[in-house]
């Protein structure tokens, strides 16, 4: 059955595989037999990974992001988590939407399933 899936990326981007491998999982789920709808949310320290200034190539994000886009997956940064860490909306990459606290948490509650990395 096709599901509406939220993938939470919660960890700082460098030094661990959670952001690139979480993106790999997201696009893998979007590309599977059921073609699940996938929304990736950068939250907590994960919002550092949604910044334009990170070196996506060095973080092995580039290919997974392209694949995810091809599967119509969307990427979102959690504004409340940004505010907590002093990350401004102008710093977020163009292919990542910034959503308010209410919108982020409602999306998580209303999803069919959530995964986190």
């Amino acid at each position: 059955m096709k599901r509406d899936v939220v993938v939470l990326l919660t960890r700082a981007p460098y030094g661990r595989v959670h952001i690139p491998e979480g993106l790999r999982a997201a696009r893998g789920i979007a590309a599977g037999f059921d073609m699940h709808d996938v929304t990736v949310i950068f939250t907590q320290d994960g919002v550092y990974g949604a910044r334009e200034a990170v070196d996506r190539e060095a973080l092995n994000m580039t290919g997974h992001v392209a694949d995810l886009e091809e599967q119509d997956g969307q990427m979102v940064a959690d504004e409340a988590a940004m505010a907590e860490r002093g990350v401004d909306e102008t710093e977020i990459a163009d292919d990542v939407m910034v959503w308010s606290d209410d919108r982020v948490t409602a999306r998580i509650r209303n999803a069919d399933k959530t995964l986190d990395f």
């Binding site: 919660t10 939250t43 907590q44 959690d78 948490t105 998580i108 509650r109």
Partner: protein, 81 residues
Amino acid sequence: MLYLIDKPMAEIGLRTAAGDPEAHVVLIQDGVYLTPDIDAPVSAVARDVDVRGVSLPPDIDRISYHDVVETIVEQEVRSFV
């Protein structure tokens, strides 16, 4: 909806639970160190409480793994663990 909350993901987990009038929060693993300020019933996994020697405030119930699974089957779950 059941919300499983551990400490590392408490930030987004408790914010998500707070917007749900039907939320039931279950503190699990190091989450049992938390005393969340939330308008919802809160339980804590008994085994995780005991081994850490945590004294629960009176408004937090103890819950077994068995009951967590029973509740998860009855209603949806969001895991922040």
